[in-house]
């Protein structure tokens, strides 16, 4: 059995047994290639009352390499307006790229993104949103992100679970 399958089976079993953290719900996990989870930011935040969906795509290299994670943009869901989230749903977060660790899991990625949203003070798109969205590859993993210290949330420490962000990037 492939490592990715075994690992995802185990993650799925854990979710079924222990449930998911508050605000995170498993929407669908019909195979070991694509999962959907919903994320809500609880408490008094700029996203109060909003619900987002995350799409996870796994290749055979998971968990050695990061899954491809993006917000779902369709009739039901929209990408949150956030300085690290592009309007096509792509997320610039270092843990999905250079700081990915194989011990991270689907749930821990959701928690990280949840706290990234929770710490946001002002709803705005990344400054280069239009330029990026018009040229972005379909799979966010194909984008090579350059992570910079987050200038939008000055209070967030460098290595907290809140991700650090982009100014520039190159498509590969």
């Amino acid at each position: 059995m492939a490592v990715s399958t075994r690992r995802l089976q185990k993650e799925l079993a854990d979710i079924k047994r222990d449930g998911t953290p508050v605000g995170i719900t498993l929407l669908s996990a019909e195979d070991f290639a694509t999962w959907y989870l919903s994320v809500e930011v609880l408490g008094n935040t700029v996203y109060e009352g909003e619900k987002f969906a995350l799409k996870f795509r796994f290749d055979g290299q998971y968990p050695i390499s990061a899954p491809a994670v993006q917000f779902v943009v369709d009739d039901t869901y929209q990408a949150p307006v956030h300085p690290h989230v592009y309007s096509n749903g792509h997320i610039c977060a270092s843990i999905l790229g250079s700081e990915w660790s194989p011990v991270l899991s689907v749930v821990s990625v959701c928690v990280t993104i949840q706290s990234m949203l929770a710490s946001c003070k002002k709803k705005e798109r990344p400054p280069d949103n239009d330029r990026y969205v018009s040229h972005a590859p379909e799979n966010p993993k194909k984008t090579r992100w350059d992570f910079h210290d987050d200038k939008y949330v000055p209070s967030s420490p460098r290595r907290s679970t809140v991700s650090v962000l982009t100014i520039s990037r190159r498509s590969v």
């Binding site: 490592v3 075994r6 690992r7 968990p63 050695i64 660790s101 194989p102 011990v103 290595r159």
Partner: protein, 563 residues
């Protein structure tokens, strides 16, 4: 600064070694000239042993030779700090192989350097332990491999600073937190004690090395900064020698990229390095064009000073870069549009006039205007071909601007066409050579000519090719040279070389038949010698000009005094 003495001591050693290498390589260099000398009768170009003015001193080093230099540094640091070589190597990599800075910082605060380099755990207590204590701890950082049977043993040797809540229980039911494969029995961990199964380690390291070309392998645990040392990497990779070899190559590349006087050969899958101390500083690049060839193949010609992978003599790196940039960008396309088109003064559509009279009707907005003065046509009456409103101020201005951009475009195209032409001709002459070679082979069979007697053609084509490359770049140089006597002299040399090259080109295109081949051979040989001489003069004089600071540019060039 007490460490200074030791460093200089070591560097002497280092350079001695390099000098030896240099001599060996020098012999290689002259060997190729001896090859030329085999046709001694034909080519009486003086074989000078000393370096020419437009050449640069350099040494080619193979991967094992670089590894030896790295090992010397590692042993040195290992000796001074009293740490294992693998730890010393990681400390050096962390400090980008700046030994002096490493020693300084390590003497200042060994622990903070070791933690930052990922060879020591961050201290649990707020005050870091004294450096003495830490260095003794550093020596126990080899790979720790545990199996179910040796878990107890492993517990004994675990460091004092243990996580308050262990990631996994150290019972015999330990399951790797990455793959959750309960059939795995072999586990490995770094000094941080984050345990994972051997197969996950192997896959992780392979992915880092193969996919990401990364030689710094951090622990797989989240936010863990501990780095896997070489013995651990080798052990984890096991029988995958290919990845281990690639890992070592990446280490060499990292070292080479840190040392200013070293550069890795840019040719695909080549693992040689060139050492060129005289071109190591940016300021040296205004007086020389450091073209080097690595020891792997004499076709691996590249510039030590910039990323251009070809011989761009006689142009210095900064100017060559500007020229290539200019050829690539759209600045001249914009100029063409400016000088060949006008905008409809009503809807701003771009219009190119390709004939007809001055009465224009915009295709888009149907506005009627005069092409000459751009004013509305209603004021013109019947003057279809001449505009009597020609001298009005804004039309004069518009024409001036147009003339300027046209002149600039023409100037650029003058140089660009010649540049492109030499490039194209060089390619064609190589094609011609392949054809000629076939013919020569035939001639060897049908006539009395021997192999050596038909080789003059190859030599001639080589020389034409090389000189066309020189010529090509002289046009880039001339484009940026400020007008004046110096530029005129430069262009004289350029013209002489160009004329000689064209004549030789013509000769080698002449049809070959057995009756005339001996005269042709003589002619071609003489011309080849002459062309080589002109090329040498061209390169020599430009190189001398750089040293004398004789060349002045018509734009600001990085490193030079402003124009």
């Amino acid at each position: 600064m007490s460490s200074d003495y030791e460093i200089s001591d070591d560097e002497n050693e280092y350079y001695d070694e390099e000098d030896d290498e240099m001599e060996v390589d020098y012999d290689d260099g002259s060997a190729s000239e001896i090859e030329v000398d085999a046709f001694g009768d034909d080519f009486k170009v003086a074989v000078r042993s000393e370096r020419k003015l437009y050449e640069v001193d350099y040494t080619s080093l193979s991967q094992p030779e670089i590894e030896k230099i790295m090992q010397t540094d590692v042993d040195h640091i290992s000796g001074i700090f009293g740490v294992e070589p693998a730890v010393a190597a990681q400390l050096l990599r962390h400090m980008n192989w700046n030994k002096e800075r490493l020693i300084e910082k390590y003497m200042d605060n060994a622990s903070s350097v070791a933690v930052a380099a990922g060879v020591e755990l961050p201290p649990r207590e707020p005050t870091p332990p004294p450096p003495k204590a830490s260095s003794s701890r550093l020596s126990s950082t080899g790979p720790q491999r545990t199996t179910r049977r040796t878990t107890a043993e492993n517990l004994k040797s675990s460091p004092k600073s243990k996580r308050t809540t262990p990631l996994v229980e150290e019972s015999k039911e330990f399951v790797c937190p990455i793959c959750f494969d309960d059939t795995q029995t072999e586990f490995m961990s770094l000094i941080c004690e984050h345990k994972f199964c051997a197969s996950c380690w192997k896959e992780y390291i392979t992915s880092k090395v193969r996919t990401e070309a990364e030689c710094k392998i951090a622990c797989m645990a989240e936010d863990c900064n501990i780095v896997a040392l070489d013995p651990f990497v080798e052990k984890a990779l096991g029988d995958d020698r290919e990845t281990w070899t690639r890992y070592q190559e990446l280490l060499v590349r990292q070292f080479v990229s840190c040392i200013p006087h070293l550069k890795f050969c840019p040719y695909p899958s080549c693992t040689h390095t060139v050492s060129c101390p005289s071109a190591a500083t940016k300021s040296s690049l205004i007086t020389m064009v450091p073209i080097v060839t690595c020891g792997a193949s004499n076709t691996h010609v590249f510039c030590f000073g910039c990323p251009i992978d070809t011989d761009h003599r006689p142009v210095v790196c900064a100017v060559a870069k500007m020229w290539l940039q200019k050829c690539r960008d759209d600045s001249e396309t914009a100029n063409w549009i400016k000088s060949n088109t006008k905008e409809c003064s009503k809807c701003q559509s771009t219009i190119e006039k390709n004939g007809g009279c001055n009465h224009m009707t915009c295709k888009k907005c149907k506005y009627e205007f005069c092409w000459v003065c751009m004013g509305p046509w209603t004021e013109h009456g019947t003057s279809w071909y001449s505009c009597n409103r020609y001298e009005e101020k804004n039309s004069v201005d518009a024409r001036d601007a147009q003339t300027k951009s046209r002149a600039s475009l023409e100037r650029y195209l003058h140089y660009y066409n010649r540049w492109a032409n030499h490039e194209q001709s060089a390619k064609l002459s190589m094609e011609l050579y392949t054809k000629t070679e076939k013919k020569m082979e035939e001639m060897q069979v049908t006539s009395e000519l021997t192999w050596i007697q038909v080789q003059f053609m190859k030599k001639a084509v080589d020389v034409v090719f090389r000189c066309r490359m020189t010529l090509k770049w002289t046009y880039a140089m001339a484009y940026y040279l400020a007008s004046g006597n110096e530029k005129e002299l430069f262009e004289d040399n350029q013209r002489d070389l160009e004329r000689a090259v064209e004549e030789l080109s013509e000769l080698i295109e002449a049809p070959i038949d057995p009756e005339t081949i001996m005269t042709l051979r003589q002619k071609v040989t003489d011309k080849t010698v002459y062309v080589q001489k002109r090329n040498e003069i061209m390169l020599e004089d430009t190189a001398k000009g750089y040293l004398e600071g004789r060349w002045k540019w018509n734009v600001t060039v990085e490193g030079f005094d402003s124009a």
